[in-house]
């Protein structure tokens, strides 16, 4: 940030600090990256394996082939219908992402920037609610959804993933809290409504955290297989989500014939999420300039 300062330090530093330390630093990072990437590498090479089961002896497959990807993308069968899963998950992911990001921002703003009766009680209450074991209420959620007539449908899953998301406001609220109150006050004096302050001041200032919120919201439906399995009663693979379908592929009866296909599926899923990350990374950098506004 301050170039002159950095240069001074470099010039003054002894050799060990100048050469050895940076090398150690990068070797250490390289080692950590290796650990973190190893399973991912295994996923990737196994997805290119000609052998369908789990290879327990060799890290790299003995025969290489693209057959798994071909099977996954172009040969949907009675167990795997990846194109349909992908489409379903994408729809659910996009809508859940929009709705829950909105919900989180809305609740965070209300709790952070506004003052009203019962605010603290409401906050404590919502944090308390989040502590109830979710798995337990699954069956009840199922019957509530059945009551509304939304079981076995994508809409139902979107509702489930996004409706309760208002409870996850804490992190964003913490961030909103750091935004200067005087900024809002002066906007109010200029005649701005709360809506304007929310959309024109607070949200732009909080980009990095909102990106984080959006990514989290988008990921939820790609990760969950338990709730999806309960809600989607259909046993026809074309109605499943990616998580359900891939999880099914590694069940005892199928894993021997579909493990490498499962790996290929894992790699394929990474694509939309990676694109999202690349797009969003830009906003992180922008966050630096946003930081400058604060006092």
């Amino acid at each position: 940030m301050d170039n002159t300062n950095t240069e001074k330090i470099v010039i003054k530093a002894p050799v060990s600090k100048r050469i050895v330390r940076p090398i150690l630093r990068h070797v250490w990072l390289g080692f950590l990256s290796f650990i973190w990437l190893l399973p991912i590498a295994w996923l990737f090479v196994t997805s290119l394996s000609g052998y369908k089961g789990i290879n327990t002896n060799h890290f790299f497959p003995q025969t290489w082939s693209l057959a798994n990807y071909k099977q996954l993308l172009f040969q949907p069968d009675t167990v795997a219908n990846f194109p349909a899963w992908f489409k379903n998950s994408m729809i659910i992911g996009v809508f859940t992402c929009i709705i829950s990001s909105l919900f989180v921002m809305m609740t965070a703003y209300a709790f952070s920037c506004m003052r009203f009766n019962g605010r603290k009680q409401l906050m404590s209450f919502s944090i308390t609610l989040g502590m109830f074991p979710g798995v337990l209420s699954m069956i009840a959620i199922y019957f509530v959804m059945k009551m509304i007539g939304l079981t076995n449908s994508i809409v139902g899953l979107i509702v489930i993933y996004s409706a309760g998301s208002g409870l996850g406001f804490l992190i964003l609220k913490g961030f909103f809290d750091t935004i200067s109150g005087s900024l809002r006050e002066s906007a109010k004096l200029d005649g701005a409504s709360e809506l304007t302050i929310f959309t024109k001041i607070v949200i732009p200032l909080s980009r990095p955290m909102i990106v984080y919120t959006i990514i989290n919201a988008f990921l939820t439906p790609w990760m969950d297989f338990v709730m999806a399995q309960l809600m989607i009663r259909s046993k026809d693979p074309k109605n499943w989500t990616v998580a359900m379908g891939l999880y099914n592929l590694v069940q005892k009866t199928l894993v021997g014939k579909y493990f490498s296909v499962f790996c290929a599926g894992g790699v394929m899923v990474a694509i939309p999420i990676s694109i999202l990350f690349v797009l969003m990374q830009k906003f992180y950098v922008e966050g630096i300039t946003a930081g400058g506004v604060k006092g």
Binding site: G53, N57, L230, K235, D236, Q251, T253
Partner: protein
């Protein structure tokens, strides 16, 4: 219309739930009517014709069966034929992928939203009936399972004297696969020799002892029992008996002794298959569902036989086993009970059981089918048949499994100090009331 064998007592009460149709008389009746009702003209009182007449609009049915490609393909074919058979009616039949092992868990979450017709493994019969999920097979229309299917398969579908499902396959039990190049035929009868051969060749023998389903075979073989009590919930188990010969503790120590062998591997099905493909494993206790993988790996060296004997207290004891069946059930909450029953009957008739056998290698429950040369020439089925006399029906309560699995794990690891104490605790868990 094709010939319909109407095996029902017209005079009998129309109330099926109250009167358990006497099974003996009904089958007798059907044999006489099968000869008589060859006429193709629809009689006014022919229930199937009545049903067709009363059916308006599309009949929606859902069928759950195994997710494997073989099953899905053959079921599709059978369902298409079923539609042709009743071409007067407009069907919309959906075939879903559901592993037979999970049917119960999945169905009971919401019976009303479950499949109309579903395949399941016979160990679930009891709990499905107890939950009221199965439609009683009080009457059959196109054939009578009581005549055509084996007694064992029917018994698997029967609870308290009432039949609740249609037998589909009779090969869901386990037996021994071995690689003849490692284990000569004459050694395959004894666990000790199998393990010795494997050790010599640097290969392994796989059996999932930490699964109570397989663990049972040792105790059953030694004459110890685990059975369902009359209440239909709890298990009666004497694996900890001290007054039997051999005693429970001796059996337990025998298992541990066998598991001490370097060649003995306590592995689940998928790990066994992986090891066989890798060429590490030369023998395993497994079932027909693995026949394809095993024969791919071993080719003409594939051997299949009844389970071996094992050494208890210096004596050779033949291992027992659970026999296993796959059944087709009709959902008691189906909105199309009549059609669901007809579809279930159709899937399990002699012709289609044969089709299923040819597609999947799983042996039929139909007596005639079992005699056909195709079936008898399958080594896996032959092995199962020779195991049959040592096999018994799977009738245990819900609390049998977890304590049983745990006992198996302890025995394989062999890290217990007192076998009797271990067994006592396990039996207490197995026989405990369901809470």
């Amino acid at each position: 219309m094709k010939k319909k064998i109407v095996s029902l007592l017209l005079a009998a009460s129309m109330v099926a739930t109250l009167g358990a149709c006497g099974s003996g008389s009904s089958s007798k009746d059907s044999s006489s009517s099968s000869a008589a009702s060859s006429d193709s003209t629809a009689k006014a009182d022919d229930p199937v014709q009545t049903l067709i007449k009363n059916t308006t609009g599309t009949v929606d049915l859902t069928l759950w069966c195994s997710e494997t490609k073989e099953y899905q393909t053959v079921m599709k074919e059978i369902v298409d034929n079923f539609k042709k058979e009743y071409s007067d009616v407009d069907f919309n039949i959906t075939i879903g992928s559901e592993s037979e092992a999970n049917t119960k868990d999945d169905l009971l979450k919401d019976v009303e939203a479950g499949a109309d017709v579903f395949a399941f493994a016979d160990d679930q019969t009891n709990e499905l009936v107890k939950a009221g999920a199965l439609q009683e097979v009080s009457t059959t229309y196109t054939y009578d399972p009581k005549e055509t299917d084996t007694d064992g398969s029917l018994e698997a579908a029967t609870i308290d004297g009432k039949v609740y499902a249609y037998p589909m396959t009779a090969s869901n039990g386990y037996f021994l696969y071995y690689d003849k190049s490692v284990i000569p035929d004459e050694d395959a009868g004894s666990l000790d020799k199998i393990l010795a051969d494997c050790e010599k060749a640097g290969k392994t023998f796989g059996m999932e002892v930490s699964n109570a389903w397989y663990l049972y075979s040792f105790f059953k073989g030694a004459g110890l029992e685990a059975n369902l009590n009359d209440d239909g919930k709890t298990t009666d188990c004497n694996w900890n008996a001290t007054d039997t010969d051999p005693t429970g503790a001796q059996v337990a120590e025998a298992i541990t002794a066998a598991a001490k062998s370097k060649a003995f591997k306590n592995l689940g099905n998928d790990d066994q298959m992986a090891a066989i493909k890798d060429g590490k494993m030369a023998a395993c206790v497994n079932g027909t569902w693995s026949s394809q993988t095993v024969s791919d790996a071993w080719g003409k060296n594939l051997g299949a036989a009844k389970l071996p004997t094992f050494t208890v207290n210096g004596k050779q004891v033949q291992m027992g086993s659970f026999s296993g069946y796959k059944l087709i059930g009709v959902n008691a909450y189906s909105k199309q009970t009549g059609w669901a029953m007809l579809l279930a009957e159709y899937i399990t008739n002699a012709e289609n059981q044969m089709k299923i056998f040819k597609a999947t290698g799983e042996g039929p429950a139909n007596k005639e089918d079992q005699q056909s040369s195709d079936v008898t020439s399958s080594p896996a089925i032959a092995a199962l048949n020779s195991q049959a006399e040592f096999a018994s029906l799977q009738r245990v309560g819900a609390n049998f499994w977890t304590p049983g699995n745990s006992l198996g794990q302890s025995l394989v690891e062999g890290k217990y100090s007192d076998a009797q104490k271990l067994l006592d605790e396990a039996v207490e868990g197995i026989t405990a009331e369901v809470k």
